[in-house]
Amino acid sequence: MFKQLSLLFSITHSQSILRRYFIVNGFDGALTMLGIIMGFYMSDSIKLAVIMNTCLGAAIALGMSGLISAYVSESAEQKKQLGDLEQAMVKDLGSSAYGEAARLLPYVTAAVNSLSPLIIALIIISPIWAATLSFELPIGAVETAMLIAFLILFLLGVFLGRISGTYWLWSGIRTLFIAIVTAGLIFLVAT
C-alpha cells in the first residue's frame, strides 16, 4: 500500500504539490487564528467561550474550504494531465498507475489541504479550550494561544527553509516577522 502510494506520488510529482498545499493552507490557518484571537484580545471582556466558538467556526470553515477547493482543482488538473498523456501514448491509461493516481490523488490532496489548517487551528485554540474547562495555565489562555500561533508560524518558516535549503533560522524569522507585522496591523486598526 505504502509502496504503491509512493509510486503514485513519484510519477505525478505529488510530494511537492502536497507540501505546497500543507504550507500554504497551514499558514492561512495559523494567521487567521492569530488575527481572530488578536481581534478579541484588543476588545474588552470577551468570554473565552465566545472566542473559542468563533475560532472553531473559522477553523472548520477553513478545513471545508481547503477540502472542496483542493479536490475540485486537483481532480481537474489530474484529469487534464492524464488526458494529455493518453493523447501522447495513444492509449487509455485508466487502469495504469497514472489512472489510479488521477483518481486517488485529488482525495489525498484535499485531505492534506483540509487537515493542515484545521489541525493547526485546533492546536492554536487548545489553550482557550483548556481554560474553558477550568485548566490552570501559567499565563492567560488568549496570550498562550497567540504565542502558539507565533511559534507555529515560525516552525512553518523553518520547514520552508529546510525544503529550500536556506538557513532554517533565517527562514523561520522571516515568517515570524510576517506574523508580527500582521499582529501589529491588527493592533493599529483596533486601537
Binding site: 509510486l7 510519477i11 498523456l85
Partner: protein, 87 residues
C-alpha cells in the same frame, strides 16, 4: 516443457517512472531475472525504450502487466529465445 529465456521488447512509456524505476519494477516482479533497458528515442511526453530481459523461465504476461501498469505500451516483441525440455 517450453520456457522463455530471453525477450527483447520495444516499449513506449511516459517519462515517469524513469528508466531505473521502470527496470527495477520489472525485476521486482520476477526475481532472478536480468533487465537491460536502453532509451531509443525521447519525445516531449514519452520515450521509446528497448528492454532486454533474461532469466531461467520468464513469465511474459507478468512482464507485460508490469509495463502496462506503469503506463507503458509494448509496441513489438523484437526477439525471443525459448528452450524446450522433455516433460
Amino acid at each position: 516443457m517450453v520456457t522463455i529465456k530471453r525477450i527483447i521488447l520495444d516499449v513506449l512509456k511516459p517519462h515517469h517512472p524513469d528508466c531505473l524505476e521502470f527496470a527495477c519494477a520489472i525485476a521486482d516482479k520476477s526475481p532472478g531475472i536480468k533487465v537491460e533497458l536502453t532509451v531509443d528515442e525521447i519525445d516531449e511526453k514519452t520515450e521509446s525504450i528497448i528492454i532486454v530481459i533474461e532469466g531461467e523461465s520468464l513469465d511474459y504476461d507478468a512482464i507485460v502487466e508490469v509495463i502496462t501498469d506503469l503506463g507503458g505500451s509494448v509496441h513489438s516483441l523484437d526477439e525471443v529465445e525459448v528452450t524446450s525440455k522433455p516433460d
